[in-house]
Symmetry: C2
Subunit: 460 residues, 2 copies
C-alpha cells in the first residue's frame, strides 16, 4: 500500500518534469536580490510567487509575514494528524547580487538551459531547492495524501544574513513547532553522491573603512609625505595572516573545537582532493592553513577572506591620485565554538594595535552567525539516508560544510530541534559567482529523494 | 619707453579682467578628459578653442597637428625679429578625469565662482595657466608689439603621459627651435609666494593584475583551500615598503642622485613644514621615508604609491565571494638619475620573487617619464625672478617639485633647451581631486608677471 502510493507520487513527478521546469524558470526570473534596496519590489513579488504555489496545493494558514525588511512566507499542511511527525521545511527565496554582469554568458535573470544545466542567478542557491520540496509535496498531494505534517518557512533575507528571521521565529515559536527541520540549502559533493551536511561554518562579515587625507590628492605633489590609505589597507590586510596561512587576529583560535581523529578519518574518505579543488576552481595552486587537508581547511577550520577591496582610481588608464579612502570587505568563516561577537572584538583589537596614526578607521559589522553541528544518527537523518539511497542507489556521505547557514543555529536555539541539511546544488554550480547554474538531472532525482523521504518519515 | 609700453599692457590686462575670466570659464567648461575614449570629440573641440584664441591675436602658422591620439596646437608670432629671444610656451589643454563625481560641490564642467576661487576640473591644471600666457601676449599685442618671439605648443595628452608629444617634437624640431621654453605647469608654493621649480620628479605608472580561481567563488564553500587574490595583492603591495617607509623594489635607490648639503639647506628655507602638509591635506599624521623632511620626501626622493585598488564585491551590503581577480594601480615618482624602464624591471623582479604560485599576474605599463633638473641661474630664470618680484613684491623661491612634467625632459633632449617652470596654481587647488579650483587673485597677478617677463626677456 505505502509502496503503491510512493510509486504513484514518483510517477506523477516524472510526468510533471516539464511543468516543474517551467515553474522553476519563472521563479528564477524574478531578481530577488535582497541586498539591493532597488530590488525590494522584486523580492516581495518572489514571496508572493511562493505563496501562490502553496495556495494551489491547498496549504493552510498561508501568510506573507512582513518583517523589518523582507517578508517570510509561511504555510502548513497538518492533515497527517498528531501521530505523524511534523517537519519544518526551511528555504530562502532571495538571491545574491549578479554582479559582475559582464562575466555572465546569458543574462542572470533570463534563465537559460544549456546542456544539462539551467543558468540563472539563484537557480541553485536556492530557488530550485525550495521548488524541489514544493514539487515533492505536490506529487504526493495530487496522488494520495501527505504522510507527514509539513510546515514551510521560506525567508527573503538569507543572502544578507537573515537579520529578521530570529525575531520572526521567536514570535511564532508555537506556529513553527516541529519534530525537526529540513534545510535543503547545503548541496551535494558531486552528481550521484547524495550528501548530508552535519556541520556548518558560521560567519562574521565586516567592512573596514580607512580615511587618510580629507580628499584625493595629487600623488606627485603630496606623495612621499602623506600615508596612502590604500597602502595602509594593504598592510593591515596582509598582516591578518601569517606565513603558515593562519589568521593572526588575537585569540582567533582560542575557542576553536579541534577535529577529532575519528572525524578526520571520516572526512578523509570524502572524494574531495586537492585536485578536485583545483579542477572546480581553476586556481593555479592551492593555499591554506598548514597541517590540514583542503576538506578540513574548508569544513573544519576557520578562515578570514577578503571579499572586496576598493580605493582610488580603478577606471581605464592612469590617474595619478593619492586616494583619500580605502575599503575592504572582510569576512571570517567560523567553526564551533567560535563566537562572531568575539571575532568582531578580535578584529578591533588587531586594528587598534596595528592601524597607524596616519589614518582614521572604522569597522562595520555586516552579517554574523555562529557555526553549528548536528547529530549524524538521528531518526530524521536516517530517513533521509535511506531516501537518498533509494533515489541514487549509493550510500550518502556525511560532510562538514564551509558555508554558513545561520538558520540551523536558530532551529537549535529557538525551536529546540535539529535539522537535516541536504540539497541538490553542486560545488560547480557557481553559487554567488557569474554563470550560476543548476544541474537538472540531479534536481529531478532530488525531487524523487524528497518523495521517498516524506514516506520514510511516516514509516520510521 | 619700455616702461610706458609695459604699463599700457598691464593697464589693458586690468581692464580685461572680466573678459579674461569669461574666456577661462568657457575654456574650463569643455570636458577634455584625455584618458576617456568617449571624450575625444571634447578634446578636439578644446584644441580648436585654443587655436581660435590665437587666431584672434593674429598669430601665424596656426595649426592643429593630429597625432596618434590627441592633437597638438601650434602657433607663432616672430615679429620681434632675429635679434630678440624666442620663447616656446608649452601647455596642455587636456584634464584629469573628474571622478568621483559625488565628491564635487558643483559639477566639474560647469565652472562656478565661490569666494575668490573658480571651481572646475582642469581650471588650475592647467587651463588657467595656458590662458594666462595667451592673455599676457594679448595685452602686449593690443597695446604695442611683442618684444620677444613667441611660439605656442599646447598639447592634449599630458594627463595620460604625453605618449605622442616626443614624436611630434622630433618631427618639428626646426619649427619649435627656441632659446628656452616656458612651462607654466608647476605652480606656486602659496598665494603671494611666486616660485620657480628647478627639479621635477619622473613617473613610472603600472597596473598590476592578479588572477586566482577562474571565476568568483563562494567564500564558504572554497574559502580556506583557495588563495584569495585580494589577499595576495594586499601582501604584495604591503611588501613594497619596509618599516622605514623605503621602497623595497630591488635596486630602487641604486641610481638615486643624493641631495647635496647645499640643496638641503636651501630646501629647508621653503615655508613648507609638516604642519603645512597636514593643513593642506587633512591627513591625521604624516608618513614618509625616514631621515628626510617632508619637502625632501616629496621633492627629492622617489616614492611608490597605490593609485587604485579593486577586487571582488564593493557594493552595498555583504556578498560572501572569494574574488577571481584583484588589481592595483601603482606608480613610482622618480628622481634623477632613475630610469623608468629600470623601475619597470625592478617591479617585475620583485613580483617574480614574491608572487606566490597560487595566482597568475601581469604588469602593464601605463605611463613613464624620467625626472629632470634645470639650472637655477640661467638668463631666462633671472628674467622671471625679476618679473615675479615686480608683480608680487617678494623674492621668488626655488623649489623641487614632486609632480612629473615629462615635457621638461623633452625640451632638454629633443630641442636642447632648458625651461623656466612656473605657474599660478596652488597646492590647495585640489588638482586631480574633487573640487579642483583656481585662486583668481593669484591668476590675475600671474598675468601681470608674464607681461613683465616678456618685457624683461627683451631687455635681458
Amino acid at each position: 500500500m505505502s509502496t503503491e502510493l510512493r510509486n504513484a507520487a514518483l510517477k506523477y513527478a516524472r510526468e510533471q518534469k516539464q511543468r516543474f521546469l517551467d515553474d522553476l524558470i519563472a521563479f528564477s526570473a524574478i531578481p530577488s536580490v535582497s541586498t539591493d534596496p532597488e530590488r525590494s519590489a522584486d523580492v516581495q513579488q518572489t514571496a508572493e510567487w511562493v505563496a501562490k504555489r502553496l495556495e494551489a496545493l491547498n496549504f493552510d494558514n498561508i501568510k506573507i509575514y512582513p518583517t523589518a525588511k523582507h517578508p517570510v512566507v509561511y504555510a502548513e499542511n497538518l492533515a497527517a494528524g498528531a501521530n505523524a511527525p511534523t517537519v519544518l521545511i526551511y528555504g530562502h527565496y532571495d538571491v545574491q547580487p549578479a554582479e559582475p554582469l559582464d562575466k555572465w554568458d546569458s543574462a542572470p535573470f533570463e534563465p537559460q538551459i544549456r546542456g544539462e544545466n539551467l543558468y540563472a542567478r539563484g537557480a541553485s542557491d536556492m530557488k530550485a531547492q525550495v521548488d524541489a520540496t514544493i514539487n515533492a509535496t505536490e506529487a504526493i498531494i495530487r496522488t494520495s495524501k501527505l504522510p507527514v505534517n509539513i510546515k514551510f518557512m521560506i525567508e527573503g533575507e538569507e543572502e544578507i544574513g537573515s537579520p529578521n528571521l530570529p525575531k520572526f521565529m521567536e514570535e511564532h515559536k508555537d506556529m513553527l513547532a516541529c519534530d525537526f527541520a529540513l534545510n535543503p540549502d547545503t548541496g551535494m559533493i558531486a552528481p550521484g553522491l547524495p550528501t548530508i551536511t552535519y556541520a556548518l561554518r558560521g560567519l562574521a562579515y565586516f567592512e573596514l573603512r580607512l580615511w587618510g587625507p580629507e580628499h584625493d590628492l595629487h600623488s606627485g605633489v603630496f606623495g612621499g609625505a602623506v600615508h596612502n590609505p590604500a597602502q595602509v589597507l594593504a598592510e593591515l590586510v596582509a598582516g591578518m595572516h601569517d606565513e603558515k596561512g593562519r589568521v593572526t587576529l588575537p585569540g582567533f583560535y582560542d575557542s576553536v573545537r579541534p577535529l577529532s581523529a575519528d572525524e578526520r578519518a571520516e572526512l578523509a574518505r570524502l572524494p574531495i582532493t586537492g585536485e578536485w579543488f583545483m579542477a572546480n576552481t581553476g586556481a593555479p595552486a592551492l593555499f591554506g592553513e598548514e597541517g590540514y587537508t583542503p576538506v578540513e581547511q574548508v569544513g573544519g577550520r576557520p578562515t578570514l577572506e577578503v571579499n572586496g577591496l576598493i580605493s582610488g582610481f580603478t577606471g581605464e588608464g592612469s590617474k595619478t591620485v593619492l586616494p583619500a579612502y580605502a575599503m575592504a570587505k572582510i569576512s571570517c568563516r567560523l567553526v564551533p565554538d567560535q563566537n562572531p561577537d568575539a571575532v568582531h572584538q578580535q578584529l578591533l583589537q588587531y586594528l587598534e594595535k596595528h592601524a597607524p596614526p596616519t589614518v582614521r578607521w572604522e569597522v562595520v559589522e555586516m552579517a554574523s552567525a555562529p557555526a553549528s553541528i548536528s547529530s549524524r544518527d538521528s531518526r530524521w537523518a536516517k530517513a533521509y539516508l535511506q531516501a537518498a539511497e533509494s533515489a541514487w542507489h549509493v550510500k550518502p556521505l556525511f560532510k562538514r560544510e564551509g558555508g554558513s547557514v545561520p538558520v540551523v543555529t536558530y532551529f537549535q536555539k529557538i525551536l529546540g530541534v535539529e535539522s537535516v541539511n541536504i540539497g541538490f546544488g553542486l560545488p560547480s554550480d557557481n553559487m554567488h559567482g557569474p554563470n550560476e547554474k543548476l544541474h537538472l538531472p540531479t534536481w529531478y532525482t532530488g525531487i524523487d529523494a524528497l518523495i521517498h523521504f516524506f514516506f520514510n518519515l511516516a514509516g520510521s
